[in-house]
C-alpha cells in the first residue's frame, strides 16, 4: 500500500510536469494542427523569467516580498511567453497556415534563434525587449475609438512603438545597472532557489514528499482547471472550441478565426511559460532546458489525441506513472518472485533513459490499436 502510494505520488509528480508542459502544445495542435517546436524554448523563457524575477526580488526595496516571488513569476512567465508566442503567430505561423510541416521547420528555426539569443545577449536586454514588445502591443488597445478611426492612426502607432522602445531600453539599462549579473551574457546554467516556505519535505499519510513537487502539482492543477473553465465558460473559449471542431463552419458563422488563432497561440505559449516556472524549480535553468521536456510533450500529444483535453491529462499521468514504475524498477517490488527472464528484462529497462525506450515502444504498440490517440477528434472526413 505504502509502495503504491509512493509510486502514485512520483508518477503524478512526473506526470504533472508533463501535463503542464504539454497542455499548451495540445491546445495549439488541436486548434491549428500545428506542432510548435519552439514550445520548449518558450518554456525556457518562462524559466528564465523566474530567474530574473528572483533576482529582482532580491533588491532591497522588494526584499520583504521575496517569499512570494514564485507566485508573481508565474504570471510574469505567462505574459512573457505569451507575448513571444503572439509575435511568433503574427509574423511567421500565420503565413504558413495550411502547411503544418513547413510550420514545424520554421518553429525549429525560431527555437534555434531563441536559444542562441539567451546565450549571447544579456538577460537585462532580453527583459527590456519583452517590456517594449508588451507596451507596443498593449498601448494601441487603450486608444480611443476616435484615434483608431482617424487617418493619422499610423502616426499614433509609430509614436506608441517608439515610446515602447524607449521604455524598453531604459528598463534594460536600469536592470543591468541594478543587478550586474543580468548585464552580462552568459551561456552557463543558472539556478533558481525556491523561497524558504517551499523547501523541505512534507508528510502525507506517513510518507514524505518534497514540497516543490507538491507545488508543481498545485500549479498544474490550477492551470488545468483555469483552462477548462476558460474553454467551457467564456465566450472566447467557446469560439476556440468551435474553430477546433470545424474551422470553415465557424468562419461562416462570423467567428474571427484569425483572432481565435492569435488568442489560442498566446494562451498555449503562456502555458509553456508557466511550465517553465515549474521546470525551473526542479533543476538548473539553461538554454537547453526546453529540449529535455519537449519530446515527452510530443508523446503526450500523440498518445492523448487532440479531440479532448482529457486525453492530454490521462496521457501525461499515464506516461508519468509508467515512467516511475518501469524506471525505478517498481514492478519487481510489486511482484518479487517473477520468472527470471522476465525480471532480467525489467532490470534492463530500470533506468530513466531506458524507461523512455520502453514507453516509446508501448506507445507505438498502443497506436496500432488506436491510431489517433485516446480521444480522437470525431469526424467523417477522409483525411481524419
Amino acid at each position: 500500500m505504502e509502495l503504491l502510494l509512493d509510486s502514485l505520488f512520483n508518477g503524478v509528480a512526473i506526470g504533472s510536469v508533463l501535463l503542464i508542459a504539454a497542455l499548451g502544445l495540445a491546445i495549439v495542435f488541436g486548434l491549428m494542427g500545428v506542432i510548435n517546436l519552439a514550445h520548449g524554448e518558450l518554456m525556457m523563457l518562462g524559466a528564465y523569467t523566474t530567474y530574473v524575477t528572483q533576482l529582482i526580488f532580491k533588491l532591497p526595496t522588494l526584499k520583504p516580498f521575496y517569499n512570494w516571488y514564485v507566485i508573481i513569476s508565474i504570471f510574469l512567465a505567462f505574459i512573457v511567453s505569451g507575448v513571444v508566442g503572439i509575435i511568433l503567430e503574427k509574423t511567421i505561423i500565420r503565413k504558413l497556415y495550411g502547411s503544418p510541416l513547413e510550420t514545424l521547420l520554421a518553429t525549429w528555426g525560431v527555437s534555434l534563434i531563441l536559444q542562441q539569443f539567451v546565450r549571447s545577449i544579456p538577460l537585462s536586454y532580453g527583459t527590456g525587449l519583452i517590456v517594449s514588445l508588451l507596451i507596443g502591443l498593449l498601448l494601441p488597445l487603450f486608444f480611443s475609438k476616435k484615434i483608431k478611426e482617424s487617418i493619422k492612426f499610423k502616426y499614433y502607432k509609430l509614436a506608441s512603438w517608439s515610446f515602447a522602445v524607449l521604455v524598453g531600453i531604459l528598463s534594460a539599462e536600469l536592470i543591468s545597472s541594478l543587478i550586474s549579473k543580468l548585464g552580462r551574457a552568459s551561456a552557463r546554467n543558472v539556478d533558481v532557489t525556491a523561497p524558504a516556505w517551499m523547501r523541505g519535505q512534507i508528510e502525507i499519510l506517513g510518507n514524505t514528499f518534497p514540497k516543490t513537487r507538491l507545488m508543481i502539482i498545485i500549479i498544474t492543477l490550477i492551470s488545468v482547471i483555469a483552462i477548462i473553465c476558460f474553454l467551457n465558460q467564456s465566450a472566447w473559449g467557446i469560439r476556440i472550441r468551435a474553430v477546433t471542431q470545424n474551422r470553415q463552419m465557424s468562419d461562416c458563422l462570423g467567428i474571427s478565426t484569425e483572432k481565435v488563432d492569435v488568442i489560442t497561440f498566446g494562451i498555449g505559449s503562456g502555458l509553456a511559460g508557466v511550465a517553465g516556472v515549474a521546470v525551473s524549480l526542479l533543476g538548473s535553468v539553461g538554454p537547453n532546458v526546453g529540449g529535455n521536456y519537449i519530446v515527452g510533450c510530443f508523446m503526450v500529444v500523440v498518445l492523448g489525441g487532440v479531440g479532448n483535453l482529457l486525453g492530454t491529462i490521462f496521457a501525461s499521468f499515464g506516461i508519468g506513472i509508467m515512467t516511475d514504475l518501469i524506471g525505478a524498477g517498481r514492478i519487481l517490488n510489486i511482484w518479487p518472485n517473477m520468472p527470471l527472464p522476465l525480471s532480467n528484462i525489467i532490470n534492463f529497462f530500470a533506468t530513466t533513459s531506458m524507461a523512455r525506450v520502453m514507453i516509446f515502444a508501448l506507445i507505438v504498440v498502443f497506436l496500432q490499436f488506436k491510431p489517433s490517440g485516446l480521444f480522437p477528434q470525431k469526424g467523417r472526413m477522409v483525411e481524419s
Binding site: F29, G33, V34, I35, I92, K95, L96, P100, L101, E102, T103, L104, L105, A106, W108, G109, V110, S111, L112, I113, Q115, Q116, R119, S120, G291, V295, F298, M299, V301, V302, T351, S353, M354, R356, V357, F360, A361, I363, V364, L367, Q368, P371, S372, V382, E383
Partner: protein, 374 residues
C-alpha cells in the same frame, strides 16, 4: 513545374561531367588534407540528403529521425573496423570492453567480423529498421505532423538506448575508427582517407542516378501522387502503405551508407549523431537546395555544411542565428528552395519585375513555347 528554362544540350553536359570527374580525381592533390576531409564528409552527407529528398520532396513525409539510420550505418562500419584491429587486445575483443570488465564479445558483434556481412549490413540494417518503423506507423495512416514527431521521438529513444549501453557499444563515448586498421593501414591515414574520398564521390553520383531512376517511372509517379493527394491514390486502387514503407526504407538505406562514409572520415561514431538538431539540419539542406530536385539536395548538403564550417571558424556564436533564420526564410519566402526557384518561373519573374524581358499575359507555356503553336 516547367523545367525547360534551364536546359543544357549534350555537349555542355559532357563537358560538365568531364570537369566534375577531373576535379574529383584531382581533389586530393589540389586541396589541403583538412579541407579534403571536410569535403569528403559533406559529400557523404549529401547521400543522406538525397534520402530526405526522396521521402520529403517526393513523398511528402517529413522524417525528423534520419539520424537513427545514419548512426546505425556508422556503428556497423565502426564495429567491423574495431573487430578487425582488436587482435592485440586481451581476449581478442576491442579495447574499450576491458574498461567495463566485459570478457566475451556480445553476440550481435560476432557477424561483423566478416567484411562481406558488414558491406551488406551498412545499408540493410538501417533499411530494415526503417521498414519496420515505417510499416508500423504508415499502417495506421499516421501521417503529416504526427509522423514527424513520432520519428523525432524514436530518434530520442534510440539516442537514449545507444547512450546508456556502455557494456554493449561503449555508450556515450562512441566507437573510434581513425585508430583502427584496414588492409594494414590506419584508417585515419592519408592514403586510406584519399581512397575513401573517391569512394564517397562515386557513391554520391551513384546514389543520385539511383534516385533519379527511382522517381522517373510509375513508382515515382505514385510517390508524387501520395504527396499531393493520398486519399485519391488509395481510391485509385493503390496501397500507399507499401509504397511509403519502401521509400522510407530506401531513404534509411541511403542514410546508413552516408553514416558509414561519414564515420570513417570523421574518425568516430557516437550517439551524438542521433541528437535532434542534426536530423532536422538534414531537412534544411534539402529545403535550401530545393525539395524535389535531387540535385538541390546534394548541393544544399555540401554548400550549407561548408558555410557552416566557415562561419563557425570565424564567428562561432552567429551560426545558430544564421541557421535559425535560414529555416524561417526558406520556409516563408522560398518554399521551393534555390534550385526549385531556378527551375520554375523564378528568374523570369525577377527579370520581368525589373523590365528586362517582356511581360507575359497568359501562361509561359502558351507565349514562349513557339513549337507548340506551329
Amino acid at each position: 513545374m516547367n523545367k525547360n528554362i534551364i536546359k543544357f544540350n549534350g555537349k555542355v553536359k559532357f563537358i560538365f561531367w568531364v570537369l566534375l570527374i577531373a576535379f574529383i580525381v584531382a581533389a586530393p592533390a589540389l586541396l589541403p588534407v583538412f579541407r579534403l576531409n571536410l569535403l569528403g564528409r559533406y559529400l557523404s552527407l549529401a547521400i543522406v540528403a538525397l534520402g530526405v529528398d526522396l521521402i520529403w520532396g517526393f513523398t511528402g513525409l517529413l522524417s525528423l529521425g534520419q539520424g537513427i539510420f545514419f548512426t546505425l550505418g556508422g556503428y556497423c562500419v565502426a564495429m567491423y573496423l574495431q573487430l578487425n584491429s582488436s587482435s592485440e587486445f586481451p581476449n581478442n575483443i576491442p579495447e574499450f570492453f576491458a574498461l567495463y570488465g566485459v570478457k566475451d564479445l556480445p553476440i550481435f558483434w560476432a557477424p561483423f567480423k566478416s567484411p562481406l556481412f558488414t558491406l551488406f549490413a551498412i545499408w540493410l540494417i538501417p533499411a530494415v529498421v526503417a521498414g519496420i518503423l515505417g510499416f508500423l506507423v504508415f499502417r495506421n495512416r499516421i501521417k503529416g505532423v504526427y509522423f514527424s514527431i513520432l520519428t523525432q521521438a524514436s530518434l530520442l529513444v534510440f539516442f537514449n538506448f545507444f547512450n546508456g549501453q556502455q557494456k554493449l557499444i561503449n555508450g556515450t563515448n562512441g566507437l573510434k575508427t581513425d585508430v583502427t586498421q584496414l588492409f594494414g593501414q590506419l584508417v585515419g591515414s592519408e592514403l586510406i582517407q584519399r581512397y575513401i574520398f573517391w569512394i564517397t564521390a562515386f557513391l554520391v553520383i551513384t546514389a543520385w542516378f539511383f534516385s533519379k531512376w527511382l522517381i522517373k517511372g510509375r513508382f515515382g509517379n505514385i510517390l508524387i501522387g501520395i504527396r499531393d493527394d493520398e486519399p485519391r491514390v488509395r481510391f485509385t486502387g493503390y496501397n500507399p502503405v507499401i509504397f511509403k514503407t519502401i521509400i522510407f526504407s530506401i531513404s534509411g538505406a541511403l542514410a546508413g551508407i552516408s553514416g558509414a562514409l561519414y564515420t570513417v572520415q570523421s574518425g568516430i561514431v557516437s550517439p551524438q549523431f542521433m541528437t535532434v538538431p542534426f536530423s532536422i539540419e538534414m531537412v534544411i539542406w534539402v529545403a535550401v537546395g530545393g525539395r524535389g530536385t535531387l540535385l538541390g539536395a546534394i548541393l544544399g548538403a555540401v554548400f550549407i555544411n561548408y558555410a557552416k564550417s566557415l562561419v563557425s571558424e570565424a564567428l562561432p556564436a552567429s551560426w545558430m542565428f544564421i541557421q535559425g533564420s535560414l529555416f524561417i526564410l526558406v520556409v516563408t519566402t522560398l518554399p521551393e528552395g534555390i534550385l526549385g526557384w531556378l527551375y520554375s518561373e523564378g528568374p523570369r519573374n525577377l527579370l520581368q519585375k525589373f523590365g528586362f524581358i517582356r511581360k507575359i499575359k497568359t501562361y509561359p507555356s502558351l507565349e514562349l513555347n513557339k513549337s507548340s503553336e506551329g
